[in-house]
Amino acid sequence: MTEPSLHINLGGLAMKNPVTVASGTFGYGSEYGHYFDVSLLGAVTVKSLSLKPRPGNRPPRISETPAGMLNAIGLQNVGIDVYLKEKLPYLREKNCTIIANIYGYSPEEYAELAQRLEKEGGADALEANLSCPNVHDAKNTCGPALVAQSPQRVKEYTETIRAATSLPLYIKLSPNVADIREPALAAQEGGADAVALINTLLGMNIDVETRKPCLSNIVGGLSGPAIRPVAVKMVWDAARVLNIPVLGMGGIYTADDAIQFLLAGATAVAVGCASFRRPDAALQVIRGMRDYCIRHGIEDIQKLTGALRLQ
C-alpha cells in the first residue's frame, strides 16, 4: 500500500506526524540530538519557560514508583532570555516545529511570555502550563490551588493569553479534578486552540525505614505507564464535549499506547518520561504508528482520531 499520511493539524499548527514530547521530559531538544534527529518529531515541546530563571525545588526531587515515577522538580528552567539566546538556535537550525510551554505567576506573565515568544520567533505554538503540581504551595495536602482546578480561572487565563498572541494556543490541564470536561470547556470558551492533557497526578511515596517522604516537597506528580489508563479516559471524556482538538499524553511508552489516545479522541500525542527510559522512545512511537496504519490499511492517520468502536 502507499505510504500513510501522518500529517495532522493541531489547532492551527501543521505537524508532519502526531507525536511531540511532553514538556520537561525532553529539555530543549538538543539534549536528545545525540540519540536521533529530533526534527523527525511532529514537534518539540520545550521545558516550561518562565520570565526569570527558576532554581526549582530542593532535592530529592524524584522517586520511582510502580511502572512510573513521582517528580517535584519545581519548574527549574533557564528562563525565556537564555532560551531565546542559547536554546532556540539549535531548534531553528534543525528546522524543528516548536511548542513552547510557558509558566507564569499571573495571567499577565503568561501574556508577556506569549508576546515575547511570538515577537522573537521563539515558538510555533504555545502550551500554557496551568497545571504544574509542584509550584505554589504543594505542601498544602488539600491540594495546591492550581489554576487548572478552577474552570473560571482557566477561562480568565486563557482569554488573557489569547488576547496577547496569534500563535496556536494550547492549555495544559490537570487530572487532579473531579470532571476534566469543565476546565477543558473553559479553555475552549477562553479561546484556546487545543487542550493538552494530562499533566501529572498528585501522588506521594514514603520510605518506611526512615518514615520520611521520598520527595523534599512531600508530594509530587505521578507519570509513567502507570497513569496511562487514567489519561486515556480523560482524553475520551474531554474529546467528546470539545470542538477543539486534544493533545493527549500520560504514560505513552509504545505506539500502541499512542494509538489508544487517538482512538479515544486525541489529534496528537506527547511522549513523556518514556524518553528517560528510552531516549529514542518518541521516534519509535512514530515508526510504530506508521506501521500500525500500514497494517490496518489506514491512509490518513487523522482517521484514527475518535475512531473507537463501541460495538
Binding site: G24, T25, F26, G27, E31, Y32, H34, Y35, P53, P55, G56, R58, P59, P60, R61, I62, S63, E64, T65, P66, A67, G68, M69, N71, I73, Q76, V78, G79, D207, G224, P225, Y253, C273, S275, F276, R277, P279, D280
Partner: protein, 268 residues
C-alpha cells in the same frame, strides 16, 4: 560520545557478599569512557522497575567494560539474576569524570563501600599521567566487603584499609584514615562513597588545605541532564547554579562547590 547499546553479558559474578561485577561486551562504550563516568543500565526489559540504574563504570578498555553493584533493591536484585549471554541495554558513558591537574605532589584516593567502583580506573589514569601510583584508602563496613583491593596492589598503589568494625586495617572511618595520612596543601584527594563519608573527607581536606574531587551519587531518571531530578545544592552564589545536576555538571565535583549538610539518598 554517548552510546545506546544492547550489550552482551560476559559475566555477572559475586565479588563479595551481596556485591557483584557485571562485565559487558561494548567496545564503543569501553573506548569512549574516562575514569569517573557512569552509565545507565536497564535492570529489566519490562516496565518494572521503570527507570534505568545509574552505575559508575569500573573497568573499561578493549572490547568490554564493567560495573560493580550492591544488591539493595528491586533493580539490583533483577540485575543479579542476569546470566552470561543475556543482553542489557546500556546508555553511556555519561557525565564528567575525574580531572587530573598536574600541580599536586600527592594524590590520595578514598573509596567507601561500593563507591570504590570508579577508583581503579582513576588510579590507572593517574599512573599514566603522573607516573606515580596514588595512595589508596579503602573503607568498608567490614573486611568481606573491601572491594578491588587486588586491583590497587597490582598497580603498586600503597593501600590503607579501614573498617567500621575493625575487622581489617584501621578501626574507624575513611576520614580517620585520611587524617592519619596527613594530607597537605600539595595533596589532591579523590573520593567516592556514601555522602556522609564524602562530607567528612571534604572536611578533613579543608582543615589541611588539600583539594578534593568528589564523585556523587543520586537518584536519576534520565542520566543525561534532562529531567532535573538528580540535583544537589551547591555553595555557588549565582541563582541558576544553586542546584546542579549530578548527571550533567557532575558526577565529579570540586568538593568546595557542594553543600555537604544536605544530600540525596543512595539509589537502590
Amino acid at each position: 560520545m554517548i552510546h545506546l547499546l544492547d550489550c552482551k553479558v560476559l559475566s555477572n559474578d559475586e565479588v563479595a557478599p551481596g556485591h557483584r561485577r557485571l562485565v559487558l561486551d561494548g567496545k564503543a562504550i569501553a573506548e569512549d569512557t574516562c575514569a569517573g563516568q557512569f552509565c545507565m543500565l536497564e535492570s529489566s526489559p519490562g516496565l518494572q522497575p521503570f527507570l534505568r540504574r545509574p552505575m559508575s563504570i569500573e573497568r573499561f578498555g578493549g572490547d568490554s567494560f564493567s560495573v560493580l553493584y550492591k544488591i539493595v533493591g528491586e533493580g539490583t536484585r533483577l540485575l543479579g539474576r542476569i546470566q552470561p549471554g543475556d543482553t542489557v541495554n546500556v546508555q553511556g558513558p555519561l557525565g564528567n569524570g575525574f580531572s587530573i591537574p598536574k600541580e599536586f605532589k600527592r594524590y590520595i584516593l578514598v573509596g567507601g563501600g561500593i563507591g570504590i567502583a570508579p577508583l581503579p580506573g582513576l588510579a590507572q589514569a593517574l599512573i599514566r599521567e603522573t607516573g606515580t601510583p596514588p595512595e589508596v584508602i579503602l573503607a568498608a563496613r567490614s573486611r568481606d566487603i573491601l572491594l578491588c583491593q587486588e586491583d590497587f596492589t597490582r598497580m603498586n598503589c600503597p593501600v590503607f584499609l579501614v573498617t567500621d568494625d575493625g575487622s581489617a586495617g584501621m578501626h574507624g572511618f575513611a576520614s580517620n584514615a585520611l587524617e592519619a595520612r596527613k594530607p597537605d596543601k600539595n595533596t589532591l584527594v579523590y573520593t567516592c562513597g556514601p555522602m556522609i563519608m564524602m562530607g567528612a573527607v571534604h572536611r578533613i581536606c579543608m582543615e589541611n588545605g588539600s583539594r578534593c574531587q568528589a564523585s556523587l551519587e543520586a537518584n536519576m531518571a534520565c542520566g543525561d541532564g534532562v529531567c532535573m531530578g538528580c540535583v544537589v545544592e551547591t555553595t555557588l552564589q549565582e541563582e541558576f547554579r544553586r542546584m546542579v545536576r549530578v548527571c550533567h555538571e557532575g558526577p565529579v565535583f570540586d568538593s568546595r562547590d557542594i553543600r555537604w549538610n544536605t544530600g540525596t539518598p543512595a539509589h537502590d
